[in-house]
């Protein structure tokens, strides 16, 4: 069930009133049933996998907490995490490693092709596996008390708004809300509706519309000129952000309607002044997960400058592989590892730590802000080639077109199109940046004006959804 489909809106329209008619103590059960219905709509077979994964975390958490012996606690932790990662490894990476080894073996005339399996990747497995991982680790570290009620654990792992593509929630944020009993406030309801409208607009009217062009350009790269390919890449930069940020806003909005506050996943990443800042603003739930469970255990910045750079690089290499089972993603991670290490080196050398966000301090500072934001945007957009390309052949075609410029028939027109999508994306971002609210439409006064804006945004999204088939979220494949 895609968020950008009518069936999801109908699902919400049925669920939310039902939720309010249900007594508070029973609401968690209702939401759990709705979550499994939501997941089974995609493929009922994988509900067992989801349930198994949740129960594994539940039992492991209790075992860890109840064990007094540190060695036993560690064993249970390895057991829980090991099984979770093995499942993820099997579904997501088995064929990738078989293919990679097969390529090596083929150099000596051998073949491992017989090991290749037809595996369907369960939607959201990377996300719920990482949630399990963080839960087990947090219980092991003693920073979170294990859930004693299996309902809490299963709910935490399968709550429908975050099931498909996050945010990767920490138990410390979600479980206390579940335990307390869900009873949304009027503010939450209002915020929820506005987040859904804005998210749907971002996803459908910017994301899907630009994504259709991107898919065609990358599907037939050999038929496009150099400028058209550059525009295709810049459009993908718009597409992936509005697609994922739109999804996250709909997820947060849907959760608010049932009284749950999910983590903010994006803070206008394309207004970042460095790649380091970008990663503090992009897919925040993943970035913070990587920091807590990969970067810090590797030693973080506690083992000297050189180790800090290496740790940053290794963390991003892992992040690349998490995104997809392909060498292009590994290289994407490596490139961002280099970006972060170089950025950290420059920061160490200058001795200045940048502020968390920009505030106007004269035209000079504004020009510097514009320059650094543009530079960061170009670096990030360039790395997207490795993210979007299906394989290195496509990367090769793109680079060849850059080295040997091929004139474009429609370059100017595609540039205008790209500019329009980019400006609309930044228009929303800039408002969110300065209001510090994703649901910025709530600030519009008087109320009839607010509803005029929201109704127009919703109407155009609905018309587009009706006439075009919904485009799946890019991050579903992860």
């Amino acid at each position: 069930m895609l968020f950008n489909s009518f069936i999801y809106l109908i699902f919400l329209l049925v669920l939310v009133p039902l939720f309010y008619l249900t007594p508070v103590r029973m609401r968690n059960y209702l939401l759990l049933a709705a979550s499994y219905l939501f997941y089974s709509y995609w493929d009922v077979r994988f509900c067992l996998l989801l349930l198994g994964s949740s129960l594994l975390a539940y039992f492991t958490g209790i075992r860890i907490e109840d064990s007094k012996d540190p060695v036993t606690r560690k064993r249970w932790m390895y057991f829980g995490i090991g099984i979770s990662l093995t499942m993820l490894g099997f579904f997501k990476y088995f064929n990738f490693f078989v293919d990679s080894f097969d390529s090596m073996v083929s150099l000596w005339g051998g073949s491992l092709d017989f090991l290749h399996m037809r595996i369907i990747l369960p939607v959201g497995i990377s996300f719920f596996t990482f949630q399990n991982y963080s839960y087990i680790m947090d219980v092991y570290r003693g920073s979170f008390k294990a859930a004693r009620n299996p309902l809490e654990s299963v709910f935490y792992n399968s709550f429908f708004p975050l099931l498909m593509a996050g945010p990767i929630e920490r138990a410390a944020n979600l479980m206390p809300q579940i335990r307390k009993g869900l009873s949304p406030t009027r503010d939450q309801m209002r915020e929820g509706v506005h987040l859904i409208v804005i998210g749907l607009f971002q996803k459908v009217i910017i994301g899907d519309a630009s994504g259709r062009i991107v898919d065609n350009i990358f599907g037939y790269m050999e038929h496009y000129g150099s400028l058209e390919l550059i525009m295709g890449l810049l459009l993908f930069t718009v597409h992936i952000y509005t697609d994922f940020a739109g999804y996250s806003n709909i997820a947060r909005g849907s959760a608010k309607l049932v009284g749950v506050d999910l983590s903010v996943n994006f803070r206008q990443p394309y207004l970042a002044r460095s790649v380091n800042e970008y990663w503090n603003r992009w897919h925040i739930s993943l970035s913070s997960w990587l920091k807590d469970y990969i970067y810090i255990p590797l030693g973080g910045n506690r083992k000297g400058k050189v180790r800090t750079y290496i740790n940053l690089f290794l963390t991003m290499l892992f992040a690349g592989l998490w995104h997809g089972a392909a060498w292009t993603f590994v290289l994407y991670g490596a490139l961002h590892g280099i970006y972060l290490s170089v950025g950290r080196y420059l920061m160490d050398r200058s001795g200045k730590k940048p502020s968390r966000s920009y505030s106007y301090a004269g035209p000079k500072s504004f020009l510097l802000f514009l320059g650094t934001v543009t530079g960061t945007y170009i670096l990030v957009a360039a790395s997207r080639l490795l993210f979007r390309a299906d394989d290195f052949t496509q990367v090769g075609i793109f680079l060849d077109r850059m080295a040997h410029w091929v004139p474009s028939d429609m370059g100017a027109r595609l540039t205008t199109i790209t500019l329009s999508f980019t400006l609309m994306m930044f228009f929303i971002d800039i408002i969110q940046y300065y209001t510090k609210r994703d649901d910025f439409t709530l600030l519009i006064r008087p109320i009839p004006v607010r509803w005029g804006v929201v109704s127009a945004m919703m109407l155009i999204s609905l018309i587009y959804m009706f006439v075009e088939e919904p485009l799946p979220f890019v991050y579903f494949q992860f």
């Binding site: 069936i7 062009i213 028939d409 027109r413 009839p448 945004m457 018309i463 009706f466 006439v467």
Partner: protein
């Protein structure tokens, strides 16, 4: 705040926002409006209009100053030029790939190179036309451009007479003397009158066009499928969607019965002697006998497409969307080369 003031404020903001969104949707070319309802030929592309289409593939182009596709060749034709008018539906229109990859442009380039003569191809293709519509297009419009050869890209199913018109159009009938006449009654119908009254909005507003498309889908009975997705368990709806996605574009129409009107059109074509049929399906289904009896030549593109299939390339598969549909890049290239080879002897 009074209810009246609130309502006015709401309405003004709502309309203002729609206007801003109209500008955005139009400049980002999420969709574009480019059709008019012409009183002489029905649905027709407007001159000098940008067009974008993202269905199976990606088309970005525009109509020329005369309202057809391709370079703008004026009505007067120099003697040294050999001019071809291309009539057809979505296959001729080619809104799946950029124009330079469409078979019509390949044909024009290759025919000029092969014959050493200036060959001009004027593409009058337009989606959803049936054979009668194509001939009305020719008689009432394309003929003014003085073509030496008129190509009709058709399939048997295009020969069927329309029983209903979602978009009102003129149609052929036989008068008591069995002469072919065109009925223009549609201009008196309410749909045309409404169009005429709001033509500025309909020809220029993208949001109006998107709403019209939504209305058309609803009229076709697609709303329950779109709204309820998998839950809509109507066998017919799922079958229809499946058929659309997976239909074999070469499937033949059995028991094709041609009307007297169609035969009258064939007679006119025969008398003019400029027509050539480019048939998209295999010989038995197409009214080959009727055409041969009237001396109207035909070429069948099937063999060349089958050769592609035999080489492991599906000429109907669009890998970017995974859909089957119109000829893809390879299909258009094959058809373009094939037609250039077949048509070269016809260029004096």
């Amino acid at each position: 705040m009074s209810i009246l003031r609130s309502s006015v404020l709401f309405l003004l903001t709502f309309l203002g926002c729609l206007l801003v969104l109209e500008l955005y949707v139009s400049s980002a070319e999420i969709d574009l409006s480019y059709h008019e309802l012409n009183p002489v030929i029905g649905k027709k592309m407007l001159p000098n209009k940008r067009i974008v289409m993202l269905k199976e593939g990606f088309y970005l182009g525009q109509t020329n100053e005369y309202g057809y596709l391709g370079p703008a060749y004026p009505k007067e034709k120099p003697d040294s030029v050999f001019r071809i008018a291309l009539m057809g539906n979505s296959y001729a229109e080619g809104f799946q790939l950029w124009e330079k990859y469409h078979f019509s442009r390949i044909l024009e380039r290759e025919l000029s190179a092969r014959t050493g003569k200036t060959v001009q191809l004027l593409n009058f293709g337009s989606g959803n036309l049936n054979f009668h519509d194509m001939y009305i297009y020719y008689r009432n419009w394309a003929k003014e451009f003085n073509p030496d050869l008129v190509l009709y890209v058709v399939k048997s199913e295009n020969m069927k007479e329309r029983t209903s018109y979602f978009i009102p159009s003129p149609y052929f009938y036989l008068d008591p003397d069995s002469a072919l006449q065109v009925n223009y009654d549609f201009t008196g119908k309410s749909v045309y009158q409404t169009y005429d009254r709001f033509s500025f909005l309909m020809e220029n507003s993208v949001l109006v066009k998107m709403s019209q498309n939504a209305y058309k889908l609803a009229q076709k009975g697609r709303a329950p499928q779109i709204l309820f997705d998998k839950l809509y368990d109507s066998y017919a709806a799922s079958k229809q969607k499946k058929d659309e996605l997976e239909k074999d574009p070469e499937a033949e129409i059995k028991d094709l019965k041609l009307t007297a009107v169609t035969e009258a059109i064939f007679d006119e074509m025969s008398a003019e002697g400029k027509t050539l049929f480019v048939c998209r399906d295999a010989a038995p289904a197409f009214p080959e006998e009727l055409l041969r009896a009237r001396g109207i030549p035909m070429v069948f593109v099937n063999d060349t497409l089958h050769d592609l299939k035999a080489a492991g390339i599906d000429p109907y598969l669009w890998k970017s969307t995974g859909r089957k549909g119109h000829w893809n890049y390879e299909g258009n290239e094959a058809v373009g080369h094939f037609l250039a080879e077949k048509l070269a002897p016809l260029v004096p």
